[in-house]
């Protein structure tokens, strides 16, 4: 039984333009870290947005863990999908501290559980000492880890990462890439990661899906 399944996704931004994605399908097993590799403009980031529920495709089906997120009759809103996303520029809420950012997605837990989970996540990303800082006071690598923890905190069924290294300086990249690999393994999370860099994908992912450019 497949854990996560995309079937025949077709999507275009405007009706008169050629579709960005045409009948795209893929499957992911539980616990797998899959890299989506392709040139810019091939629709890989769009695919993540569709999975998260931020875009609505013309047609297609998305099923996770036997739950239908999207088909002809259903569209589950992003807040009910249980899918976490790390944005390309992290999109950490600038008016909230690190701690508040991580707590943001935990509103369904009781207060005690929330704080426990926060502790757990901070320890996991090793940033306990920065809990009261604001995002703009952090380095790029630290911001990435906070964004990762924020997306992971509500225990999503699937984690999406959009170009996790594109906002980082080149000399930091290698170190952070290794770090992210450790974190992903430690979290036992099913993850779909988009990148245009062959090497990034090779280091982090269990499996690579090459996306063709639209014709």
């Amino acid at each position: 039984m497949t854990y996560f399944e995309l079937t025949d996704i077709t999507f275009g931004y405007a009706k008169r333009d050629a579709p960005v994605l045409k009948q795209f399908s893929m499957q992911v097993e539980k616990g797998e870290v899959v890299g989506l590799l392709g040139q810019s403009g091939c629709g890989k980031s769009t695919l993540l947005r569709i999975i998260a529920g931020l875009e609505s495709p013309y047609s297609g089906r998305i099923v996770i863990n036997d739950r239908t997120l999207l088909d002809q009759q259903h569209f589950i809103e992003p807040e009910r999908r249980g899918i976490g996303m790390v944005f390309q520029d992290y999109a950490l809420f600038p008016h909230l501290t690190v701690g508040q950012n991580i707590l943001f997605g935990l509103h369904q837990l009781s207060k005690k559980d929330r704080l426990l989970r926060l502790e757990e996540m901070l320890e996991f990303i090793k940033l306990q000492h920065l809990v009261k800082r604001y995002p703009h006071e952090l380095s790029g690598g630290q911001q990435q880890r906070v964004a990762f923890a924020r997306a992971l905190a509500p225990s999503p069924e699937l984690l999406l990462m959009d170009e996790p290294f594109s906002s980082l300086d080149a000399h930091l990249k290698q170190e952070i890439r290794e770090e992210l690999k450790q974190l992903l393994r430690a979290a036992h999370i099913t993850c779909l990661l988009v990148t245009h860099d062959q090497e990034d994908a090779a280091v982090i992912c269990d499996r690579i899906v090459q996306m063709a450019s639209p014709t």
């Binding site: 931020l54 047609s59 943001f104």
Partner: protein
């Protein structure tokens, strides 16, 4: 696409936010529609008379007003913009701010200030007679005329053209102008062959704002005895009690405005020059030599004096004469009325503006969001007098519809309840200034983008909770800006307030107007100064916002 998918999408998009914005947009449209339908009703016997004796005249008068004002405002506005954008001279920093200040003075206040100053007993002629001992020809002081109205409108509306053109020149034109200079072209050549053609779109944009303001005016032409289109509408309604004809006139004026709108769009469409590269450097200013600098300072000083300093000082002098008489408990009540009615209106208006802005950004570039933003901006582009007649007509017919309900409630039959209450004025204010608040909120949303709210959605927050936890704290600055800008507009607004206020309900603006039209110009100074003070504060704020953005 399958029907089921369509249904799915419809169900998805039909949330409280969308429903509220659609209701808001349609409500804002009702008065305008009501007016436009006036064109299709059968004209009554009055109409033939109006058509024969008043229509052509008022069209011509309005046209001359608009053409004259636009002509002189373009000359002053564009020359000043070029002077300020490309040259450096003493006191430039001061004038940079000072040329915004005329916007703080509503033209109707300037009109009666100048009217009284230049009259036979006014300060200027009295000074000439008593101190200089000359008896000037009265014809030189004939300000209560078309010429005078154009003079006043030009002085207080040119900043629109100046501001837009200057911003354009500073930001967009550096490469072309510097190239022309390097190619050895003289100053005049650069101005006529490069600056003017380049800034065409900016000038047309500013000029159309000026034209709308002139067409919107009621106070100036009334005080100066010009039978412009707007005053003719008022005359038909209140002088002849002919509602149908007034509506018909309003409909005609509205069609003209819509036509102007389309012409402006077409004039600008192909004339929008942008540098081919996205990298634009600011224009380097050239330091003026002695003679040039003196001339520049002199010109700027004269314009500033005429368009701000002189009328304000005159008003202050009058205020010292009359303030003991005017400033009493009634005046405090006046301020309270102004504050209460504008605060209630702004509260409702900003609420609607925020809802619509939030919806329109989520469905950005869709026909739906385009239509809804155009609809809610309608009220700002039609003249206040036209809008007020639409609102009044709608409310009176609403009262007729509800008369059954009123008599059931024991309020008596045939009563006008809604159209006698503040509800009508608040409703009109909201429609009129919705665009101002909306633009401020929209620019706030543009600045933060969609990524924060998208992040919040993927973290399990719905649209409403996302708004309160993420969007609202991030755009509160823009909301405040919208609040202030709307407040300034509302405090000085005249035709709507005059026409739609309940009996005996006075605001600062209507009281100033009432004093002025009762030949108690000196008494009008105190409420006028209050209005100007509010305007000046908003101009300060606007200036500060601009400085902050550019630094």
């Amino acid at each position: 696409m399958f029907v089921s998918t369509l249904l799915r999408n419809l169900k998805r998009k039909l949330n409280g936010w969308v429903i509220l914005s659609v209701i808001g947009a349609i409500t804002a449209l009702v008065p305008s529609l009501y007016i436009l339908f006036g064109l299709f009703r059968r004209p009554n016997e009055n109409w033939q008379q109006i058509k024969d004796y008043m229509l052509l005249d008022s069209i011509m008068q309005s046209m001359w007003l608009v053409l004259g004002t636009v002509f002189f405002s373009v000359i002053i506005g564009v020359s000043l913009a070029w002077l300020m954008a490309a040259h450096d001279f003493p006191l430039r920093g001061f004038f940079h701010f000072a040329f915004l200040l005329p916007l703080a003075i509503p033209p109707y206040i300037a009109a009666y200030t100048y009217g009284s100053m230049l009259s036979y007993t006014g300060s200027i002629q009295a000074f000439m007679r008593n101190t200089l001992g000359v008896k000037p020809n009265q014809a030189y002081f004939d300000i209560l005329s078309m010429k005078g109205a154009i003079f006043v409108f030009t002085l207080f509306l040119f900043p629109y053209i100046y501001l837009i053109t200057k911003t354009f020149l500073e930001k967009q034109s550096a490469a072309f102008i510097e190239n022309a200079r390097l190619l050895g072209k003289g100053q005049l050549h650069v101005f006529f062959r490069i600056v003017l053609p380049l800034s065409q779109a900016a000038i047309v944009g500013g000029a159309s704002l000026v034209a709308f303001e002139v067409l919107n005016d009621f106070g100036v032409s009334k005080h100066y005895g010009i039978s412009s289109f707007t005053t003719t509408i008022f005359k038909t309604w209140f002088g002849m009690y002919d509602v149908d004809s007034a509506l018909r006139l309003a409909a005609l004026l509205m069609s003209v405005i819509i036509g102007l709108f389309i012409v402006e769009r077409m004039l600008r469409r192909r004339r929008r020059f942008h540098s081919p590269t996205s990298r634009t450097s600011p224009l380097r200013r050239r330091r003026l030599k002695k003679l040039g600098a003196t001339a520049a300072v002199a010109c700027c000083t004269i314009i500033f004096a005429l368009s701000f300093a002189i009328p304000v000082i005159q008003l202050m002098v009058w205020a010292t004469w009359t303030y003991a008489e005017v400033f009493n408990a009634k005046f405090v009540q006046l301020i309270r009325n102004t504050l209460v009615v504008s605060m209630v209106s702004i509260g409702l208006l900003m609420l609607l503006a925020i809802i619509v802005a939030n919806v329109s950004r989520l469905y950005k570039h869709s026909t739906f969001s385009l239509a809804i933003t155009k609809l809610i901006s309608m009220g700002y582009s039609i003249p206040g007098a036209v809008l007020s007649i639409g609102v009044l007509a709608v409310f009176i017919s609403l009262d007729h519809q509800l008369s059954g309900l009123y008599s059931k409630l024991g309020w008596g039959s045939g009563k006008l309840v809604l159209s006698m209450s503040l509800v009508m004025l608040v409703f009109a204010y909201v429609i009129r200034f919705l665009a101002v608040g909306f633009n401020a909120v929209e620019s706030g949303f543009d600045k933060i983008g969609n990524r924060y709210s998208e992040a919040s959605r993927t973290l399990g927050m719905g649209m409403t909770r996302t708004f309160f936890k993420v969007d609202l704290p991030l755009i509160k600055g823009s909301i405040l800006a919208g609040f202030l800008l709307t407040f300034m507009e509302m405090v000085k607004e005249l035709p709507l307030t005059l026409l739609l206020r309940p009996f005996n309900f006075e605001t600062l603006a209507t009281k100033a107007y009432q004093y002025a039209s009762d030949e108690q110009i000196h008494q009008a100074s105190l409420p006028s100064l209050f209005i100007i003070a509010v305007g000046t504060l908003s101009v300060f704020f606007y200036h500060w916002l601009g400085e902050k953005k550019s630094s």
